[in-house]
């Protein structure tokens, strides 16, 4: 399983997002040291990566909260917590669910 965190340094949210992501991986018995952290530095890079904001977490290429109509660009991303609050980082429960879903897919594929 490939777990990636993409970030833009102009937004201060990625250290917390990485901490939350690593904890979520521990919670579902994955090795948190395997996270691939990549910086998106330019508008062209954002377009190439289909990067709609920082932080973006992808598991096997799938966004943990697939963007709807956000344009690609170097910006901070807006997430909704499960209680409705707006947040700069995804809800840890959503990240854990996405990791478990990917684990289930991987397990089925290995049978």
């Amino acid at each position: 399983m490939r777990v990636e965190l993409l970030f833009w340094d102009g937004c201060p949210s990625h250290p917390k997002a990485l901490t939350d992501l690593r904890q979520a991986m521990v919670d579902v018995a994955l090795d948190p040291s395997t996270v691939v952290v990549r910086e998106v530095e330019t508008q062209a890079g954002a377009a190439l990566e289909c990067f709609v904001g920082s932080p973006t977490i992808r598991i096997d290429g799938v966004d943990v909260q697939p963007p709807r109509e956000e344009p690609v660009g170097l910006t901070c991303r807006v997430y909704r917590r499960r209680d409705g609050r707006i947040s700069p980082t995804p809800d840890p429960a959503d990240v854990r669910d996405a990791l478990r879903a990917a684990q289930a897919t991987t397990t089925r594929g290995n049978r």
């Binding site: 937004c11 949210s13 344009p71 660009g73 910006t75 901070c76 991303r77 609050r85 707006i86 947040s87």
Partner: protein, 173 residues
């Protein structure tokens, strides 16, 4: 750049109806740089509007200013500002557009949000974050409320300055 203890720059900026607003004329004025697209600004927004509501009886004015480059960030355009105002998100808080970004530069604003509290004479008395944690509504903008209480009571705010936290202001190239 304006430091705590300095006279804050004056300005006249239009709100979403084109009416110009200036700071002053109140025992305390809050100038908050904010925007539409930043999750930190959005997370703190209701707490700042609540401050405006809770302190209007003591004569406090709250002015919100969007300083971002709307060309590169269309979600910060005047039309998008107007839509939020019409949706009732800025009750009691004029939402001003700093198209030239000159006011943000004069204040030395760094992020959205970035909060400045001026006393009745226009001297900057507090600058920084609304409170210690954007992710905890229970914080209730207590840095800002504490600063206002101090200014209204003739005391020095403590703290008088905290690091602003949020998205960097999107300056024009």
């Amino acid at each position: 750049m304006t430091a705590v203890g300095d006279h804050a720059p004056t300005f006249a900026l239009p709100d979403t109806d084109g009416i110009e607003h200036e700071p002053g004329g109140a025992p305390a004025t809050v100038v908050v740089f904010t925007c539409n697209h930043c999750p930190y600004a959005l997370a703190w927004h209701e707490r700042i509007v609540a401050v405006a509501r809770d302190y209007v009886g003591r004569g406090v004015r709250v002015l919100a200013i969007n300083p971002n480059d709307a060309e590169r960030y269309p979600r910060d355009s005047p039309d998008a500002m107007r839509a939020r105002v019409e949706h009732g998100e800025f009750e009691g808080v004029p939402y001003l557009y700093d198209e030239s970004q000159s006011v943000a530069r004069a204040y030395g604003a760094k992020t959205t949000p970035d909060v400045f509290v001026l006393d009745a004479t226009g001297v900057l008395r507090y600058r920084g974050a609304p409170d210690a944690d954007h992710d905890d509504p229970a914080q209730n903008a207590d840095f800002l409320r504490g600063a206002l209480d101090a200014v209204l009571d003739g005391r020095d705010p403590s703290p008088a300055e905290t690091p602003p936290v949020g998205c960097s202001i999107k300056w024009k190239a």
